[in-house]
C-alpha cells in the first residue's frame, strides 16, 4: 500500500493495538479530561477518518509518552495525537497561544517570540566562548533556559559549574534556534524538519565531541530524532555527575536541606536517566535526599510538555503540578529539585497557587550544586 492511500492506522503502525487500555489507564491527563488515546486509536482502526476538530482534548496531551513507554505491542499511541494535531495545524485550527508559539519559533527561533538577538543575554557577565572557536563540549542552551528569567538562574549556575570544572565548552550564542522537540509534538512537522536541518548543520559544524543540553526536551530530540550519531548527546545531569565522579567538580559547602527529586518525563520515562540526577544530589554535603511515592518510572508528569507550556488544555483547575507539589510537600522535603526548565516553571507556579511557598522551594539541581561550590 502506498503512503498516499494508507490509512492513519497503517501509516502510524497502529494495527497491532489490542485495545488493552494500558495507555489510557496510565495517562495522567485522561484522569481529568476527555482525552482517551485508546479510544482514539480504536476509532482510527475502524473508521476511515477521525475529525480532530471534534476533539479539543487533543491539546491536553503533554507528550509525557507514558503510553508509548508502556505499550505492550509497540504501538506509539501518542504519535496519533501528534498526527491529529498536525491536521489541525495544517488547517490553521489551533489554539491561539499554540499558533503564537509556533510563529515565534519560525520568526525568532524561540516560542516566546522575543528577539533572536537577546538569546545570549542570560550570559551577561559570564565569560562563555563561542562554540565556533572550537570546543570539546557544545552546550545547547535551549529556549526557556535562555529567555525565561527564572530558568536563566539555573542556566547561569550550570555555566558557572562547567567553568569551575575547567570544561572546554562553548555555545552557539544567538545563532542557536529552538531544538523543535515541542514543535514536533505540537504537530508542526514541517517547521520541525527545518529546525533539524538548520540546527543539525550548525551543531555538526562545531566539531565538538559532546553536545550537552539544559532541557531534557532538547536532549530527547537531539538524542533520538536528529541523527547526531557522531556526537555523544548528554543531559546536563549526566555531564555534571561525571565531572563530580571524576573529581573535576568538587562540592564542599554544606547544603543542609531535605530535598526530593522530581523525574522529568523526557529524562526519566523516555530516556531512562534516573540515577545521575540523584548521584549529583547525593554528592552535595549535608543534603538529605528523600523520595516521593511516585518516582522514577512512576513519576507524575508536571504537565509542561508537548506544547502545554503554551496551551492551557481543557482542565486548568486540576493541574497535575498541583498534585505533584502536594506529593513533594508530603515527603517533608524543603526543596523540590528539578532537572528541566518546564518542570521548574510549572512546579514553582503550583507551589505558589497551592500556598506551599512557606514550606517548599522549587530549585533546579544546578542551583543546589551552585550553593555547594566553594567561592
Amino acid at each position: 500500500m502506498s503512503v498516499e492511500t494508507a490509512s492513519i492506522a497503517e501509516r502510524l503502525e497502529l494495527l497491532g493495538c489490542i485495545q488493552c487500555g494500558k495507555c489510557t489507564g496510565g495517562c495522567p491527563v485522561a484522569r481529568k479530561t476527555a482525552l482517551n488515546i485508546r479510544d482514539l486509536i480504536y476509532h482510527v482502526l475502524v473508521e476511515p477518518e477521525v475529525d480532530p476538530e471534534a476533539h479539543p482534548e487533543l491539546w491536553d496531551c503533554t507528550s509525557c509518552f507514558t503510553c508509548v513507554e508502556r505499550c505492550l505491542k509497540d504501538v506509539h499511541p501518542a504519535e496519533l495525537i501528534i498526527e491529529l494535531r498536525g491536521q489541525l495545524v495544517e488547517n490553521g485550527d489551533v489554539p491561539e497561544t499554540i499558533g503564537a508559539a509556533l510563529m515565534g519559533v519560525f520568526r525568532q527561533g524561540n516560542p516566546t517570540g522575543i528577539s533572536r538577538e537577546d538569546r545570549a543575554a542570560w550570559a551577561a557577565g559570564l565569560e562563555i566562548k563561542g562554540a565556533q572557536e572550537g570546543c570539546e563540549t557544545l552546550y545547547f542552551v535551549g529556549c526557556s533556559p535562555a529567555y525565561d528569567p527564572r530558568a536563566q538562574m539555573a542556566t547561569r549556575a550550570l555555566a558557572k559549574a562547567l567553568t569551575a570544572a575547567d570544561l572546554d565548552f562553548g555555545t552557539l550564542g544567538t545563532k542557536e534556534s529552538c531544538c523543535g522537540n515541542e514543535v514536533r509534538r505540537m504537530g508542526e512537522s514541517g517547521l520541525f524538519e527545518m529546525l533539524v536541518e538548520e540546527n543539525g548543520e550548525l551543531i555538526r559544524s562545531v566539531g565538538a565531541q559532546r553536545l550537552v543540553t539544559s532541557s531534557p526536551h532538547c536532549f530527547n530530540t537531539f538524542r533520538n530524532e536528529y541523527g547526531l550519531d557522531e556526537m555523544m548527546v548528554l543531559h546536563y545531569t549526566q555531564l555534571v555527575a561525571e565531572l563530580i565522579e571524576q573529581g573535576k567538580l568538587t562540592l564542599t559547602k554544606s547544603v543542609d536541606k531535605t530535598v526530593t527529586y522530581h523525574d522529568p518525563c523526557f529524562l526519566g520515562k523516555q530516556n531512562h536517566i534516573f540515577d545521575e540526577p540523584r548521584a549529583i544530589l547525593k554528592a552535595i554535603p549535608g543534603l538529605k535526599l528523600v523520595e516521593m511515592d511516585r518516582s522514577r518510572e512512576r513519576s507524575l508528569c508536571c504537565e509542561g510538555g508537548g506544547g502545554r507550556m503554551w496551551a492551557e488544555g481543557t482542565n486548568l483547575e486540576e493541574r497535575l503540578a498541583f498534585q505533584r507539589v502536594q506529593e513533594a510537600a508530603d515527603t517533608g522535603a524543603e526543596v523540590l529539585a528539578v532537572a528541566c526548565p518546564f518542570c521548574l516553571l510549572t512546579l514553582e507556579d503550583a507551589v505558589k497557587v497551592q500556598e506551599l511557598d512557606d514550606r517548599l522551594q522549587v530549585l533546579d539541581i544546578m542551583e543546589l550544586v551552585d550553593l555547594a561550590i566553594d567561592g
Partner: protein, 449 residues
Amino acid sequence: MSKEQDKPAALIIGGGIAGIQAALDVADAGYPVYLVEREPSVGGRMAQLDKTFPTLDCSSCILTPKMVDVGQHPNINLMTYSEVISLERQDNTFRARVRQKPRHVDVSKCTGCGACAEACRMKGRVTSQFNAGIAQRSAIYVPFPQAVPLKYTVDPEACLYLTRGKCGKTFLCRDACPADAIDFEQEETLVDVEVGAVIVATGFDLMAPTLKPEFGYGVYPEVMTGLEFERLSSASGPTMGKIVVNDKTPQDVVFIKCVGSRDPHTGVPYCSRICCMYTAKHAHLVRDKLPDARITIFYMDVRAFGKGYEEFYDRVRDEGVIYRRGEAAEVIRRGDRVVVLAEDTLLGQPVEVEADLVVLATAVVPRADAAQVADVVGVTCSPNGFFQEAHVKMHPVETGTDGIFVAGCCQGPQDIPDTVAQAKAAAASAMVALRRLEQAEPGQQEQAE
C-alpha cells in the same frame, strides 16, 4: 534392579511433575531410570502450589503419592541435589556425568527428624525459596515436610561454617543430631551413567516483577506475585493458609493478569498460558477464605480453553469476582492502602481501585540457566529461550538430537494437565528409543556403574 540388568536405561533431568511422571512411566515399562534433580527434593513447582485448577485438588495431595513412588520404585535411581554436567553420545547411547553435590548430611543415617534445623544458629534467618521468599528457614533444611527424600541438606550459601569457616564454638546441628548424620567433610561425587534415552524436564522460572516497575513490586508490601500468593494461601505455607497482608485481613484484593506476558519488551512476546486460570483459582481461594472481600481482576483477554476451564471461569464470576476489562497501568500508594490505576475499556474510562492486596500474574519464562543446560545436553533453544522441539505439531517431544526428548515447561509454558500429557508422550518416545536399542543389541547393554 536385578531383572533389568541388561536393559538400556533412561536419564531424566528434572524432578518436577514432568520428570516424575516420565520416570514412573519408563520405570513401570521395565526400563531403569536415573532421575536427576538439582534441588534437595523432587516435586518442583507443583509442590509449591496450593490448589490446582479447575478441580481444586490440593496440589501436594495429588503430587505427593507420585513423589513417594519415584522414591521407592525399584527401577528408579533417584539422584537429588545432583546436576548433569556433561552428556556425550557414544555410538547409539549416551554417557552422562552427574555431579552429586555434598549435602553435608549422611543420607544413610539421617532420619529426617529435624533436630538439626531446630538447633541451627541461622534458624528463621534464611530465605525459603520453596516458600517463594515469604518465609524463613534454617541453614540446614528440608525444603518442605513432604520432601522426597526426607533428608536434610546444609545450604552452602547460608551455613555460617561453610560461608565463614566458623559457627560459634561448636556445631549446634551436629550436637543436636541423634543419628550422627552431619558431615562437614562430605565432598561432591561424580557418577557416570550410560543411558539410551534422555528426557529433559527442567521446568521454568517466573519473570522478575521488577521488570514492570509501574506495579511497585518490592516497593509496596501489598504487591506480591502469584507464586507468593500460592504460598500465602497454602495450608503448608508460613501463615498456614491465612490470607494476611501487613498483619491485616485484606478487604479489597486486585489481581493483575499478563504482567510481562504478551509483551516483547520484557522478552515475553508469548502468552504464558497458565495465568488466566490460576488467577481465577486465586480469586476463588480469596472468596472461599474471605467471603466479604471485594475481588477485582484486571484482564486483557480471558483464555479458558482447557477441559472444565470455561466452567470454572463461570463459577468464579458467579462467586462475585469482578472481571474488569483493561490491563492495569500502575500501582501507587494512598494512605495505608495502594491504588490500582487502569482504564476499564468497557466503560471507556480511567478507574482507580483501592486495594490491600495486589497479586501480579508474572510471566512464565525459561529457567535462567536454560541456555547453559541446552549446551550441556545438546539441545537448542527457541528464540524465546525455551527448548526447541523437533516440530511443533508432528514431533512435539523430540528434539534435534535423536534420543533426547523434552517435557513440561522447559519446552514452553503449559499447565499441569498438558505437562503430564507431554511427559507421558516423552516417556513413550523414550521407550521406543530404548526398545530399538534392545532389539539392535540384545543382551549387549551394560549396566552403568
